[in-house]
């Protein structure tokens, strides 16, 4: 574990040992308002999801989720403190109260939801685990990987899915477990491992942003797991959990209703009662959440709807060129389905 990791773990333990954890209802929102910022746990650097841009500002899909939350609470998108956390550090950081939520490409699983004392917000990105290999190995599919050496990051579902997949197919593998993503990737690109495994979206981002020559590497067609990635909060603060949930739903609902960053002011004049409720023209929704009535309006005005965020960070407007695929509205054959805002 890195020094930071140790520090985080000990901080977590110290908090659990010595002091009560802020777990009363509403405490997180009060704390956030008092601090004037949201402490948001993001990945240590995955192109498209969370990475500092050329000016040193954090940008990406995960980052925009934090910004949307900030916009809903403060009416300004920049009241966020980004805390880069590795896969290993993130849960202790959340449990100990170091961060208020994780927007950290975290897979929603039963174990984490229960034994780790976490609550998952709605899924913001449907992913699946895949394998990246050098083209020159001539591997056609994951079934050809018997005996391969595989670089993987610890503390993720990735590590478990990998072991499960090889067991299910009666194949052998040799894991090389490296905590820091950069170190793990450089080990793979230098040929220490035959295969690098991770969520396929992140794999593609890694390939494009970090491979010496991206065309020398391919991502195998198999997806060996379901990886629904969602923001995470602690057990014990239902009000905060609600806020994060509905902030995510509002992004999706806005896309479905065709409300965009550009037209949100015009849409506020709409006669559609659903849109009026959502944008706070008809009051009630904000009060129910304990937020300003303009919460959803601010989100969309300052950050954009789900589709805009996706296109800007991962999709057609970027080098990554992700297909919407499963991450499209249910009306377009995807899985995104916001609960009614009423």
């Amino acid at each position: 574990m890195t020094l930071r990791g140790w520090f985080g773990t000990f901080a977590a333990i110290a908090c659990v040992l010595g002091f009560g954890v802020t777990a009363q209802a509403g405490a997180t929102l009060d704390k956030v308002k008092q601090a004037g910022q949201i402490s948001c746990g993001v990945p240590t650097g995955i192109a498209g999801f969370a990475a500092p841009d050329s000016q040193g500002h954090w940008a990406g899909f995960d980052v925009d989720v934090c910004r949307a939350l900030s916009a809903a609470i403060f009416g300004a998108a920049d009241k966020v403190k980004y805390v880069p956390l590795t896969a290993q550090q993130r849960f202790t950081a959340l449990q100990s109260g170091e961060v208020d939520l994780l927007s950290n490409n975290t897979t929603d699983t039963l174990q984490r939801d229960t034994a780790l004392g976490l609550n998952f917000a709605p899924v913001v990105f449907y992913d699946g685990q895949g394998f990246m290999v050098p083209k020159k190995l001539g591997v056609k599919g994951a079934k050809d990987l018997n005996g391969a050496t595989i670089c993987v990051q610890p503390g993720t579902t990735t590590e478990l899915n990998l072991a499960d997949y090889f067991r299910a197919n009666k194949m052998e593998f040799k894991p090389v477990v490296i905590e820091k993503l950069d170190e793990a990737l450089s080990a793979f690109f230098s040929g220490r491992c035959d295969v690098f495994t991770g969520d396929s979206s992140a794999l593609n981002a890694n390939r494009l942003s970090q491979a010496p020559n991206p065309d020398d590497y391919v991502i195998l067609p198999e997806r060996i797991s379901k990886e629904p990635l969602a923001p995470v909060v602690r057990h014990g603060d239902e009000e905060w959990n609600d806020i994060v949930r509905w902030v995510v739903y509002a992004l999706i609902e806005a896309e479905e209703k065709g409300i965009t960053q550009k037209n949100v002011d015009d849409m506020a004049k709409s006669d559609d009662p659903n849109i009026k409720r959502m944008l706070g023209v008809t009051p009630g929704m904000g009060k129910a959440l304990g937020l300003d009535e303009k919460w959803a309006y601010n989100e969309i005005k300052l950050v954009g709807n789900y589709g805009e965020i996706f296109d800007r960070t991962l999709g057609k407007d970027t080098e990554l060129k992700f297909d919407r695929g499963l991450n499209n509205l249910w009306t377009h054959g995807g899985l995104l389905y916001a609960m009614p805002i009423r």
């Binding site: 034994a115 005996g147 050496t149 503390g155 590590e159 072991a163 490296i178």
Partner: protein
């Protein structure tokens, strides 16, 4: 008659008795520490329960379900967390034990080399010590790991410096002899040789004390220790078949392979700790005053005897206590393995903590293990120290 009444002072209150006072304070202090400990444990349990975070050690019996790259014992993801932890523990002990032996050898050689009258040798030793002692170990580990990874070729283009020894970026693969029944007897012969040598050296010492005659114990012992197993080996028909590493699919199968992670960790630990040992050895030798050597020369002892009988025993007394500390730090530094992907105790326990979420239990186990290892090393070194310490009469 006036009687002198000698007024004895009343018995001083127990409060003024230093012994009583000291024990009262000690009892109070222990009680305070225990109370604090109990409070922390209680608070932890309450907090964990309130957040619905699982606690207790029952997770150790559950299936680990993650893979471990290197293991001294058979391990598969179907095994339990307890076994995964054991794999990590053995990996730590393995690298620490090898590291201690090699660092001692390297350090001793370098320490003596620094005292050499040969300018080049002493300067080289000095450069080694000053360079590697002053660079953080973590950086050195990344350096060695990167070097091994980047400079070695892929498995299919691996170097073969010796027949059947393959060097690639997957590590060093070398052949191992297949087990034969004769090898068991050879081990027995080795034991017999060692025991016989110990006996002979005792006898030789007594004879020398009695008669003053010397006996070439060293050569005879060497002959016994090496010769006996060799005779058994040849007598058994000299069976030797090698399990050769072969390129199968992605990697080498058969033989034995040392991974770059293990090699980098061992190299880093040995080179880094070796510098401290070199300085300790140098200091120990310099601590024996020159007069001792002059006295030995005056008695007509040869150079080798002088070192072995006069200088070294006295230097060891100075060397042993600080060297114990370096052994302890080497063992603890092995936990930096996590940075370069060697599955040591901390690395495995980290994964365990993350999959189960039971950080308190996991960290407790890590601490307990390191404490046990460190105390064991301390006890052994203290026993050895007592054996070589100056016995004052």
């Amino acid at each position: 008659m006036a009687t002198d009444i000698i007024r004895r002072p009343a018995r001083p209150s127990p409060w003024r008795n230093p012994a009583v006072r000291a024990s009262v304070f000690q009892v109070l202090f222990v009680a305070a520490v225990l109370a604090l400990g109990a409070f922390l444990v209680h608070n932890t349990v309450v907090n964990l329960r309130r957040q619905n975070i699982a606690s207790g050690f029952s997770f150790l019996d559950r299936e680990a379900a993650f893979g471990i790259g290197e293991s001294l014992i058979p391990y598969s993801p179907a095994d339990t967390y307890a076994r995964a932890f054991l794999v990590g523990l053995l990996n730590t002990l393995y690298v620490a034990a090898l590291g201690i032996v090699l660092a001692t050898i390297l350090g001793t050689v370098m320490g003596i080399a620094r005292l050499s009258r040969n300018w080049l040798i002493s300067k080289l030793a000095q450069i080694y010590v000053e360079t590697f002692r002053n660079i953080p170990l973590l950086l050195q580990l990344f350096f060695w790991w990167g070097l091994l990874r980047e400079s070695a070729p892929a498995p299919r283009q691996s170097w073969e410096p010796l027949p059947d020894v393959f060097v690639s970026n997957r590590g060093i693969a070398f052949p191992l002899p297949n087990p034969e029944p004769v090898y068991g007897w050879m081990a027995l012969a080795l034991c017999v040789g060692v025991v016989a040598t110990v006996g002979i050296s005792r006898w030789a010492r007594q004879r020398q004390a009695r008669t003053g005659e010397q006996f070439p114990t060293g050569w005879v012992g060497l002959g016994l220790i090496l010769g006996l197993p060799l005779i058994v080996f040849l007598g058994g028909g000299a069976p030797l078949s090698l399990d050769r590493p072969e390129l199968k699919g992605f990697n080498f199968a058969g033989g034995h392979a040392v991974s770059p992670e293990f090699a980098a960790l061992l190299l880093g630990l040995v080179v880094y700790t070796g510098t401290f040992i070199a300085e300790i050895v140098r200091a120990g030798i310099l601590a024996v005053s020159w007069g001792q050597s002059e006295a030995a020369m005056a008695l007509g002892l040869k150079s080798g005897q002088r070192t072995r009988l006069i200088v070294l025993p006295q230097a060891l007394r100075v060397i042993i206590p600080p060297i114990t500390s370096t052994y302890l730090s080497l063992t603890k530094n092995s936990s930096l393995a996590v940075a370069i992907g060697y599955p040591d105790l901390v690395s495995v326990a980290n994964t365990m903590i993350n999959q189960t979420g039971q950080a308190v239990e996991g960290i407790t186990m890590i601490m307990a293990v390191y404490l046990t290892i460190s105390l064991t090393i301390s006890v052994l070194m203290n026993l050895y120290n007592r054996a070589v310490a100056l016995v004052e009469r």
